[in-house]
């Protein structure tokens, strides 16, 4: 089988599309055409929903003084996805922490910037503890009126797709690729896999270790989503010299130091996987294990120890050291 492999930058990350060529006679564009069309969609998605683009529809929504704001189907879908993520995570993945994330210094895109050394940040970080939802759960005030085509929220309550955007983008691209024999949509590590062929020949997905950058685990995946959340990127020193990162404890509005430096989750969709990964990391080791138990995942502790949780824990981890990347790709 031939697969088309397209990589490009969007949403502050690398995006990769792997699309199997449809069989001869299928009423589908070629894999290359599908990839080009998907790339166009991802770029439109980014342009409409980026917090870092003043001309985006998201920024227009956040600046709008009305309570009910007409919104495109894409923005309405993004608001619904953010609410789904907040509900699934019990408010830990909160899309309304825009003031808080800007307060810790994440005002502009950090795409392409090298993160501060995580090991050093861990040594100077405050005490560990699980994050908690913000009292009052303001994300519940976000709503979508599909009939009117409007987003409804109290003026001044700003919304961000940071916790759910890449997973949603992967899922929406996957929906456009229905009918292709097998495909991977990788939006900055939030991955959606589909196609009947992938069930027969699952893809090999490596999990990167947040401290060493090496491969921490290998998962064979033929369907659904997988996503990773970690402290090793988007970590920097603030004006006072303390280490801060972008995963905030909603209760305090401060970066969360929970005893975990990374979490990888599986889910039926990339959005679900992304939500579970973030929720597990924010919850710390004990509650994190519970969050990942149903669908499976990995947690990486502060000391670098990797722990498989749920369904993938029963399958012995493969020995990765014996396999060179070229052999893996062959």
């Amino acid at each position: 089988m031939r697969e088309h492999d397209l990589t490009f930058d969007a949403m502050g990350s690398h995006v990769r599309l792997l699309i199997g060529e449809p069989p001869a006679g299928a009423d589908l564009p070629s894999a290359a055409e599908a990839a080009t069309s998907a790339r166009r969609f991802v770029r439109e998605f980014d342009a409409a929903l980026s917090r870092f683009r003043p001309e985006s529809e998201l920024c227009a929504l956040n600046a709008d003084p009305r309570e009910r704001v007409p919104a495109s189907p894409l923005l309405r879908r993004a608001v619904r996805a953010a609410r789904e993520a907040a509900e699934l995570s019990g408010g830990l993945v909160d899309p309304t922490l825009v003031d808080e994330i800007e307060r810790v210094g994440y005002v502009d895109s950090r795409a392409g910037l090298t993160g501060a050394p995580l090991a050093e940040a861990l040594r100077s970080a405050p005490g560990r503890g699980p994050a908690h939802p913000r009292p009052g759960s303001r994300w519940r005030e976000l709503a979508v009126d599909e009939e009117a085509g409007e987003v409804v929220r109290p003026p001044g309550l700003r919304f961000d797709t940071g916790g759910s955007g890449k997973g949603l983008a992967a899922d929406l691209v996957a929906a456009r690729l229905r009918g292709y024999p097998r495909f991977v949509v990788d939006c900055g590590g939030d991955i959606r896999i589909g196609g009947a062929g992938a069930l027969t020949w699952p893809y090999e997905v490596f999990v990167e270790h947040p401290l060493s950058g090496e491969r921490a685990h290998l998962i064979h995946l033929g369907f659904g989503g997988i996503a990773t959340s970690g402290l090793n990127v988007r970590i920097w020193r603030d004006a006072e010299g303390r280490y801060v990162h972008h995963l905030l404890d909603p209760a305090t509005g401060e970066p969360a130091w929970t005893g975990l430096v990374g979490a990888t989750a599986l889910g039926d969709t990339a959005l679900e996987a992304e939500t579970r990964a973030k929720a597990a990391l924010l919850s710390g080791p004990v509650a994190g294990r519970r969050i990942l138990a149903e669908k499976g995942g990995l947690i990486v502790h502060d000391d670098g120890a990797v722990e498989a949780v749920g369904p993938i824990a029963v399958v012995p981890a493969p020995v990765l050291e014996d396999r060179a990347p070229a052999e893996v790709a062959a």
Partner: protein, 101 residues
């Protein structure tokens, strides 16, 4: 006195055949009626009151079979920012990796 003792020692007469027959038939009828009543009472109580819960136990043996599926030998046509689809060459692709971003 002697005469009355002699009477008492006289062996009892055997009952008549008809008496034995009818007594047996009557005893049988009574027992049969009792059993029938008991059986019908059991059946009725079984249908009108909650049946005793029956616990069904299944023995489930869980076997996890890990099979290494050989790769189907996918040829990937790679295109990136610097390579257009038209000029793409077949090269071994990077493995798929999930990481924080």
């Amino acid at each position: 006195m002697t005469e009355s003792r002699a009477v008492a020692r006289r062996p009892a007469r055997k009952p008549g055949g008809a008496i034995v027959f009818w007594a047996s038939a009557a005893l049988f009828a009574v027992l049969f009626a009792l059993l029938t009543f008991q059986l019908s009472a059991t059946t009725t109580s079984g249908t009108t009151t909650a049946a005793r819960p029956v616990q069904v136990r299944k023995v489930i043996k869980r076997r996890i079979v890990t099979t290494v599926v050989p790769s189907p030998g996918v040829n990937r046509v790679v295109s990136g920012p610097a390579t257009s689809s038209a000029s793409a060459a077949e090269v071994p692709a990077e493995p798929i990796t999930t990481s924080a971003s």
